[in-house]
Structure formats: structure tokens, C-alpha cells
Symmetry: D3
Subunit: 274 residues, 6 copies
């Protein structure tokens, strides 16, 4: 069960409205790597975690924080849209190119649908959806996805940081950047701890079926694109990070399988056949 306080986790006070930036900021709310994604990803991981204790508790701590990040951004968007020329006539827009430019860069739905508020969509108006998250039950696989999500999230935040010079907006984004730094380090540390605790001892998720898979095919990178420099990387020779395999680079690979072909069709499906 959850509780809510009316104070934001951190300030979200722009110095002045900026409807074009409000449009872009939707990426951090409803984009594939926005705050709705980490909220739902961590909530479902927590609810789906079978093992009580520190991992589950950490996931729920951070999940709960992330709901508050959606809140900070939603409030910021509503404030950035204050007085937006949503209701200006087209005539005025065409007479004043500056207003026209602003209108061109706005999200029409923030005015028409949301009445000057944030929406659960990204910066192109595409809705957040449940396929943006993963919660597999395997903590190594999921923490790696979490670290990846925080990396993309911080990258997008950094790009947006350069697209505004409003001190109030930058003030909030400096907080967000810092949380994304912390969360990257935190999930990486949690991956180390899974290994230290013996829960997921190797780098390979899941730590299973390693004896059944074809070991010879877990070694060789196939040269299938004619740029030759891939053979110069650290992945071309030497031990793999799991300590169990060697890397090799296969310069002239040949297909190992049979001819790609489909069986004769069931006549009642009317596939063309001779």
C-alpha cells in the first residue's frame, strides 16, 4: 500500500513558461526510458520478487521514489505550459513568426486534450505502454536492464539539459542527473552483490544450461560484415568476462545449417504450391 505527501521530492519551478520545452520534456515522462518506465519496471520487479530481504526492499525503495519523479516532471510541464499561446488564433500565428514557431514546436494535445497539462506520452505524443518494461524474476537479467534504463534516462536528461537555459528547469535537472548517476552505480553494485552472495555467480543470465549449450558456439564471433577492424578488439581473443570461455574471431564463416525451406502446405490453407 502507498501513501502520498503533497510536497515534491525536489523543486520543479521554472523561471518562466516555455511550451516548446514542455513538449520535449514529455520524453522523460512517457518515453521508453522515462520515469513511468522505471516506476513500473521496478514496481513489477518488486512484486514479482520471490526472495524477501535486501534486494526486494531496495527495488521497492527505488520504485516508490520513481513515482515521485513522474510527479515532479508532470508538475514542471504544467508550469512550463502556463499562458502558452494555445488559444491564439491561427491568424495571429501567421502574422507573428515567433509565435508561429512556438506553436509549431508545441504538442497540440497538451492543449486540446490535457488542458495545459502533462500526458502519459513521449515527446512525439506516442503513449507509454507496458511493453517498455521488463520484470523477469531473474535479478541478474533485470538489474542489467535497470542499469541500462538509467543510462539511457541520464543520457536523455543530459541532452535536454542543454536545450534550455531556464535556471529553474536546470535546477531540477541537476537533481535528476544526480539520481540517475546514483541509480546506475547502485544497480551495478547490486549485480556485484548477486555474484558475491552466490545467487548469480557468473556474468551470464540465467546461470543455467551452461553445460547443455554447444560450448564451441559460445566462443566465436562471426565476421559477416566486411569491415575488418572488429578482429582488433578485445573480444577477438583472450578470456571472456565469465572466466569460462575464450574469445575467437571467425574470419571466413560458412553457414552450418540446412537449406531454408518450408514444408508442403495444408491444401485447405491455399498456399501457392505446385
Amino acid at each position: 500500500m502507498f501513501r502520498h505527501t503533497d510536497h515534491l521530492q525536489f523543486d520543479a519551478k521554472p523561471e518562466k513558461p516555455d511550451p516548446v520545452f514542455a513538449h520535449k520534456l514529455q520524453e522523460l515522462i512517457g518515453g521508453a526510458y522515462g520515469e513511468m518506465t522505471v516506476t513500473m519496471q521496478y514496481l513489477f520487479q518488486g512484486w514479482n520478487c520471490r526472495m524477501p530481504g535486501k534486494y526486494k526492499d531496495l527495488i521497492m525503495d527505488v520504485a516508490t521514489e520513481e513515482i515521485g519523479h513522474v510527479e515532479m516532471l508532470a508538475v514542471m510541464v504544467a508550469r512550463l505550459l502556463e499562458g502558452a499561446p494555445a488559444t491564439a488564433t491561427t491568424k495571429a500565428a501567421m502574422a507573428d513568426p515567433v509565435i508561429g514557431a512556438v506553436i509549431g514546436g508545441m504538442d497540440p494535445q497538451q492543449a486540446i486534450v490535457a488542458g495545459g497539462g502533462a500526458m502519459p506520452v513521449d515527446s512525439n505524443g506516442y503513449p507509454w505502454n507496458g511493453k517498455f518494461i521488463v520484470a523477469s524474476g531473474n535479478l541478474l537479467a533485470d538489474f542489467r536492464a535497470n542499469a541500462a534504463a538509467e543510462a539511457q534516462g541520464r543520457l536523455q536528461t543530459a541532452r535536454l539539459y542543454n536545450m534550455t537555459d531556464d535556471p529553474g528547469v536546470k535546477h531540477m535537472l541537476k537533481f535528476n542527473l544526480a539520481r540517475d548517476t546514483l541509480h546506475q552505480n547502485m544497480w551495478l553494485k547490486a549485480i556485484e552483490e548477486l555474484q558475491a552472495d552466490g545467487l548469480e555467480p557468473t556474468t551470464v543470465a540465467p546461470n543455467a544450461l551452461l553445460d547443455e549449450e554447444y560450448a564451441e558456439h559460445a566462443q566465436t564471433i562471426w565476421h559477416l560484415s566486411d569491415g575488418a577492424a572488429a578482429a582488433e578488439g578485445g573480444w577477438a581473443t583472450g578470456p571472456q568476462p565469465d572466466g569460462e570461455h575464450e574469445f575467437t574471431y571467425l574470419m571466413d564463416p560458412e553457414a552450418l545449417g540446412d537449406l531454408a525451406s518450408a514444408p508442403p502446405p495444408d491444401p485447405k490453407l491455399y498456399a501457392t504450391y505446385d
Copy 2:
């Protein structure tokens, strides 16, 4: 530009048809972590890579291999659907519960739409879409996403491996598992190499704005869920993986921000207001 050989990268020969498993196997074709995802993720990363040389060449090698993985799975699905009772009458299904069970577990579209073939959808018939991939231009952020994708992919393959006992299907999945092992190690190695080459020297993506973000907020995990064990993890104290920050755990956090509130509405948007 690409070229194609009619031989599969590896065998995809089931011992006998199994339409229920053909349905499930769609997850590895068109699911969020299926082969279409890694194909398109790596292709767009490669095309979007600004830096010629070993990283770009590696990405294109693996991207090109992954198209062939979609091919192997599509051929496997077509073969598993051979003679599927797609055209059995409902009457027969209800008289014979075994056939009924099979029909119940089939994907109706594999018969009605694809004529007994694979489709670019997941195991619930949801179509693959472009939001499943990321190609940000930042190789640290993207390689972390790649390692995460290969981990989820191997996990799903391992689960499917336990849902069949067809030797021909298992034969192919042993190859797939091995490639997913290799690709996880490979992307982890490439992350190490980015650091060794000085291109992305820390664990934080992007390696930027670290001096501008609020350092004090890059240290503390907030205790916002009442399970107390999170304070016992390695993420509660000590140095962070980036070597630049310490971890602390804030047991009684208070909101730092102002009241969540939206500005007075533009009257022409008809928001309710006093």
C-alpha cells in the same frame, strides 16, 4: 548492402510438428527481446555510429548475424506448424479433447493470416514494434542495453528449452543459448574496452555533466518502502562502482520540494477553477 545465402546459420529441424510450441516460439521472433529486436537494435546502432573502426565493425558483424537468427526461427515455426489441425472442424475439437487442447494453445493467426507460417509478432500475437529498440549514439549506454537484451533473450530461450522435448528443437536452442552466452560476454567486454580506450572512462553514461549535477544527491538511497533490509546491502555504504562517489542510505527522508501545484488555467481551456 546485404547478401543472402539460402543455408541457415544452423539447423532448424524439428523431429515432428508441434503447433502449441510454434505459438510460444513466436516470443523469440517478435517479442520485446526476440531476434527482430536485436537485429534492428544493432543495425540502427551501427548505422548511427559516428566512429569508424572496431566498435562499428563489431556491431555490424553481430547485427548481420541476427537477421539470420530471425530466419532460423521463422523456418522452425513453419516446420512446427506442418499438418497443424488448423482446418479441423470445431465439432471434432469438442469430441476429441486432445485436439481441443492443441487448438486452444495455437495462435489462430498463424493459420488464418500466415497460412501456417511465422509472423513478426510475440507469443500473444502482439506485433514487434520500433519502440523495442534503442540506438542512442552513446556506446556505453547502448552496449549496456545490448548486454541486457541478450540476458533477457537467453533467459526466455532457457525457459522455452524446458517446454519442449523435441530433440531437433533442442538441438537448435543449444546453439541459440550458446550465442546468447557469447553475446553477453562480448558486450560486457566491449564496455571494458570503451573504458580502457578512454572513450567512456567511468561507469556513468553519459560521461558528462558530472560536475554540474548536485553531487550530494548522487550519494543517498532514500528509504521510502518500509522493508528495512535494503540498508544491509553493499549499496548502503562504501564506494560506488564509478570510484567517484560514496553510497549512503537515508533512513528518514523528507521531501525537499515545494507543494505540487499547477498554475491558474487559461480561461479558454475551460479547466475547472474557482
Copy 3:
């Protein structure tokens, strides 16, 4: 079965083209509360209505009218796009900021895909889809959804009315506003009539299981957000609209359930477990 007359239900004649407004008007065609939604919502409700007579006939009357509303808007969009600078070169756009502003605010797909016509999408280019509608078979639940849809639709129409000063466009929108007024009143009246006819006698949909549900939990609003004013509303004390329950406001609620936890995992699913 349906028939069509080539005359529009009402005039859709703009005084002059306005491609930026044509972009916004898509919201009323293919948006979540646009005319395609009420068309399909009412059609499926009518087809799914089990009870011949006045309710079913009303639904089909209005459903049939709504197809004509999609038509009016589609024709309006095509006329607003006449002569749109779709084919202007980028060079010209950059030299002339007014044209640039217009181009910035246009929907690129109205030109590239539709050749200067309307599309079944909203004002951000997101396609209309079948999840926008509901047709549950329960007329109380569905008429309430219909009144809600007409309210959102009229709200969006009113906002758009303020975004143009073209007399021809305003002429059409004055008709649309009136129909949305009528349809709100009509569905509210139909809800009253369901009660008067004894078909759905209370305000609760469905009128069922009221004796089996836990009555004590149908009374209390839980104070879970620290703003205290909710206790001052009419929903905090007194009788509920259904005449069967009292409202109370629970100031210090405690969770009643057990610990949120998931069972031990099946080992073959490879969830992390100790």
C-alpha cells in the same frame, strides 16, 4: 445495412485554407474522444444490445449520425489543406519564417501519406484504435461512458473553437458543439430512464453482487495523501447517491492485508532465489 447520401449533415466550408488547424482538427477525427470513437462505440453497443426496443433504436440512430460527423470533419480537413505549402522546398521555408512556421505546425503525413487529406489519426499522428471504445452489454455502464465521451468531445471542440477565427470553421463547430450538448443530455436522460424502467435501479453498475461485496468497505474513503481538505467534501459524510450506503472518511487508515510476497519460483523458470 447502411445507405449514404452525398450531402453532409451540416456545412463544412472554411473561408480559407489553414494547414496548421487541419493538423489540430485531426483530434476530433481520430483522437480518443473523436468522432471515430463515438461512431464505433455506439455501433458495437447497438450490435451487442440484447434488448430490442427504444434503447437499441436510440443507440443506432446516434451511431449512424456519428459516421456522418467523421465525414464532415474529413471533408473539412481536405478543404483546409487546399494549396498547403506541402511541396515548398526547405530552402524557401528557411528564408520565409512565416511559411516555416506553418510547415513546422503541419502534419507531415497529411501531405506525404494522404496527399492532402484527412487520416484516421489524432493531432499527434497516433492512429485511432479499437481500445478507444467500450461496449460491455451493460447499458448503465455504457451510457455513463457515452456521456463521458461526449463531455470530453465537447471540451476538445470548445478548445479548438478558440484556436481559429475562420467563420466557416466556426460555423461548423457551432453545430458540433450543439450536438455534443444534446448528446450529453440525451445519455444522462437515458440513464434516468433505465432507473425509471427498473432495468438498472441503482446508481451502481452492475446492479449485482451488492449483497456479497463487503459492505463496510463500500463506505470509507481512505486518507492516503496528506492534503487534508478531502475530509471537507460531501463525500466524507452523509448518504451516498445510491441511497444504500453512508459515506465516511477514514483519517488514519492502516493496511489490512498480508505482506506482499511471491511464492518460491519454479526452478525451471530461473528466477533468482536463495
Copy 4:
């Protein structure tokens, strides 16, 4: 900002696993009228509410409760999936029709993707998305949508209540049904209060442009479907619920508009034209 307690709002303890019902229960998590929808709908309405006080506080109280409803259902699903025959071989399934039937009715992704847990999808595996919600800033329009959503939600819960006889599942659903009863009454009461407070004095949302719209078209229901009984309803004559209009029923309506036609095309768009 939010906080979380590890106890559920109410018990979610099934007597025994039931993977087929776990599949269906997804409708209440990620369906168009599931708990994720009311969670996000109320959160965005609260964040977007411009008027501090009882309405905003009520919205945030209920929004916060709804996150806990998603949690209860997610935990219930994980428990219903315990020991699900996810890893049974197809061979076994075909030999044992009972297991086959169960497998046929399961969601393959609950096993393959979520490792035996809940997902943010509906009972057909379609992901929850941001278009399922509305938060317009107009409280009359939004509260009407809220009452409609709770009605559909209670209806679906009631149908699911009849599809199980597990006492533990029914115990939880009796709580959910009661909350949906309360929430319907609560939003209806809040609509009354908006009127009593003079904020939205009529039944028409928004309370605006009533003098500009064409009054004569706010009165007549058009007979466009040949069932004649619609003229017998309360909506055919007499005063409308807003107290401002009369209802009339137009038995032989004629189209009022001009011919539906599109203007000559821009030649560079290559529309076919004579």
C-alpha cells in the same frame, strides 16, 4: 512524493494456484478499465488540477489507493501461477488433456517473459498504454469519466467473480467490488458538489459556449436508423437534464450540408484528377 508499506491494502491469498484464472485476472491489472488505468488517470488529474483544496485532495487520496490495487492484483497473479505447468513438455500436455486444456488457457508470456508473475497487460496480452486515461483539467468531464471507469471496472470484476470458486480469490474480489461501488458513488457525489459549489453549474461539459452554439441543433434527435422505438423514450420529448433545452425527435431528417467534395489537388501530390 510517495511512500510504501509492505503490507497489502487487503488480503490477496488464493486457496490454490489457477493459471487460467491468473490469465483472465490480467484484465483488472492492465486492461482499459483495470487498476493501472484508474491509477494513472487519477494521478494525472491530480497533478493537472489547478485548484487547491478538497477536489484535488480527494483525487490524490484515491489515486494513491489505486496504486495499491495494482499491487494486490499483481501479488494475487504471482500466487495463482505458483507451480503452473509452465515447464511441462508438450508431450505430456498432449497425453493429458486436462493439463493440455490448462496450458491452452494460460498466458504464455506470464511464464516465458515474467517467470511466473504479473505483467502490465490485459487478458489478451495487450499492453496497458497511456491512451487509456484522460485528464483534461475540466473536473466535470473528468469525474464523469471516472464514474464511467469505475462502472466498467466493477462490471468486469463481477464477471470474473463468477469465473472462480476459490474462496481466497473471492475474498479479495468482495473487497474490490465494494471499493468500486464506493468510488462510483463518490464520483457521482463529487459531480453534484461541483454544481452545488457553482463551479460547473449545468450538466454540460464544459459550461461554456452555450450561447454561441446553434441552439436549435441542441434539441433534436435525428431518426437515422429504421427502428422506430427510439421516439418512445424520455429523450424524445420534454425538458433536458440541463433544464435549458427541450428534447424533440426528428422523424424525417434531411442532410443540411453541402455536397461532400474535396478541392482540386496540388499537382505535386499526384492525386488522380481530370
Copy 5:
């Protein structure tokens, strides 16, 4: 404007219920090539048609008919679902494998969401959406798409025809098959007529820029897959259907372009770069 008669265009009377087939039949309602697609495709083509006369009138005739096809199928689905064991307990399902099989093959949403009715979704529960249609303004391009859609539609209808032996269902499908035959021939005839009328004189859509495109690249099929038989087809030599080009087959094609590379990144976007 449209009008509706309560009689179906053709009978839709199944001999007895069949919930599994009702599930499959959704493909013809809301699938990519179902009746909603042709309805909306033809409506938008008609509204977007700039040229009054026989083409526009034909499109509107057929569009109007197609709405009635959605209606026939929706009524058929509601009748096939009559008495479906939607409310059977799971216990019963597991005791009786025949009922279990049926439940396994049903669409859970037809019961839970639609109360035993049809929905605007396909046979996997995926919603119909506006991207399924095309209305480009170019009649040659669009009529070709129409003929293609009717072909896929008839193919799916034919497959479904073999999946039932209910005489009432087959009776309706014999009508649908016939209409799909007619409509294929009709659109092909209309393409001939466009040519005869001199509106779109060649087989290439659009009939434009044929002098500006690189003629030498409009002749040669590139051999990029190692199966050699493609050189034996009629497309390898001889005149092309447009009468303006010759076919040739290029056995050893080489890439003509420059190296695939992206420009140096803007530093503020934080792409990895040396």
C-alpha cells in the same frame, strides 16, 4: 450522411453457438484485412477523392456496403457466443477437458469486456487501428491496395470456411466469399478504366517523374540471394508490363554507393567519439 436499416445485408444465423469459432471470426472484423479495414479505407478514399463522378461514387457505394459487413459479422459473433461457458468455474473446466479445451480457445475479453459480444479487435485480441488503411489520393495506387486487401480478405474467409461445419455460418461465408470475388474483379476493372480514361496511363504509380528517375536502375533485378532460379523467371528478360522498360537480371551486382558512415556528432549529444 448515412442511414441505417435494422435488417442485415445477408443472414447471419449460426445453427448453434461456438465460442472458439467466435474467437477466430474476430479476424474478419478487426484484423488488418477485416471488414473494419475496408470500411475505413474506402470511406477515407471517398472523402479524399478530388474528382466527382463514377470513381468517387463507386468508392462510396462499396464503402457503405462494408459498414454492413462489419455489422453482419458482429451479429454473428454475438450469436456464436450465446451460452458460452464464460462463467463456468475453473474447477469445472479442469474436471471436464472438453469444456477446458473450449475455454482455452476462447477470447477471454469477449466475455469479460464485451459481455458476450464482438469487439473491434482481431483473433488475437489486438485492436484494429488506423494504420491498417491507406487513402493516398492517387487512385491507381489505392485501387491496387484495394484489390490486394480484398484478396487477403477472401483468403482468410476461405480458411475460416474450412474451420467450421455449421451450416448457418457457412451460409453467410458463401455470401462473403462471393462479395470478395466481385470486389477483386471490380477494383481490377477500375484500374483498367483509369488507364482507358487516360487518368493513369501506365502501370506505374504515380505516373510521374518517369523522366527524372535513373532509367538504368529501373531495369535490373539484383542477384543478392544465392538461389539461382530467379534468373529463370519472366522478370529476368523481356519487356516490362508498362511497355516502357526492359527487364534484365544482374548476376554479380556490386554496391554503387559510398561507405556507410555518420558524420561527427554534436558534442552536446554525447555520442561516443574519439
Copy 6:
């Protein structure tokens, strides 16, 4: 299995950057008729083709070429975005209307998400998805869809050709236009060849059930829209293209079916019923 060469199939070198055009060009990458669609459509058709030989080989030749078309366009987009004012401050944009106009017309995600690269989305930012393709196993139905896709693709390319005057962009588009011309002729020729080979002897797909369908309903076009000119077309009288049917035009059609009605509801589904 596939191989890749680093050279593009044809040059993709713009003379100078143009971020507005880069936005529009996304239509040809990830739009419904873009290069991702033909790539995946032909790949799945090839993998699903049951008949070895010239048809399958041709499909795979062209499928493999199309992957290279996605590549050309992705590289072109990255180059068009070089130096795009993605990081300009809003302040600057508002002071300089030309930059503002450009920003207004840009895709925000090409900067924020992709770091200045292409994405698998269309010109409105909507993601490519698996429902855009068809691969039915019936070559007549599929080749007709292929010819239709190439026609829409060439039409969109032609429109975009008029929206730029960059010689380098036009150079590439002249190649693309030529390929789309060739591919239209090629699929039309392949349809002729299917007939010549006796594989699909008539114009109706599938060539089946022609004796079982109701022949009288395969003849008459129903006059359901009041424009009368449709009776003047070649489709109103005379032989149909399949040589098997005559066309007739039914001027006063009457519905042939029974009343549209749904059966009484199962009481446990709570549909409203008297």
C-alpha cells in the same frame, strides 16, 4: 544467413544538413509503406514460401536488397541531421524565427533519443510495427500486396522528391524512384507468370471455393450511396476480369438478411435485459 558490405547500394550524400527534411524522410524508413515494411514483408514471404524455385528466389533477392534501402535512408538521415540546432536554447529559438521554424519542424526524438540519427519510426514518430506486413503463403494475394506497397512507396517518394532541392538528396531519390518503378513492374509480371504457370489461374485469390460461393452475389454492385455515376463505369456491365462472371449494377438494393439482434444474455454477464 546474411552478409554485409560497408558500401551502400547507392550514394546517400546530401549537399548540406536539413533537419526538417530528415524528419519527413522517416516516412520512407519506418512508415507503413517504408523500406522496413518491404524488407520484412518480403523476408517473411520468402521464409514462408513452400515452393522452391524461381518465385522464392526472386522474393529473397528483393528482400535482401530492401535491407540495404533501409540502410541508405538511415545514413541519409544521420547526415541530414549533422549540426542540427538540437542543442540550441529555447531563448535563441524565440529570438530567431528561422531557427524557431526549423526546431518546430524537427522530430524531437531524433535528437533526444537517437542522438542525431534515424529511428525505426515514421514521420510522426509512430513506430514501425509487424502489422504493417503480410505474408500469407498465397503468392497471388501476396504479390498483389507487394505491387500495392511499391506503388504507395513510390508515391510517397515522389512527394518527398518535390519537398527538397538538395541535389544530393534528389540524386538518391532518383535511384529509389527507379527501383520502385522496377519493383512494381516486376510484381505485376510475377502475377502474370503465376497464371501462365497454372499455379493461380484466375484473377481471384485464392483460386478456391469458386463453386461453393453464391455466384449470384459475385455479380452485382449495390447502389448504396446516392451519387449515380457509379452505374456509368466499366464495372457496371460486361465481363469481369476473371472471365467467369458478368458485372451488373443493382440500382435499388434491399437488405436480404434477418433483423440484427443479439441473443438473450447469460445472466452472470450482467448485460441489461428486460
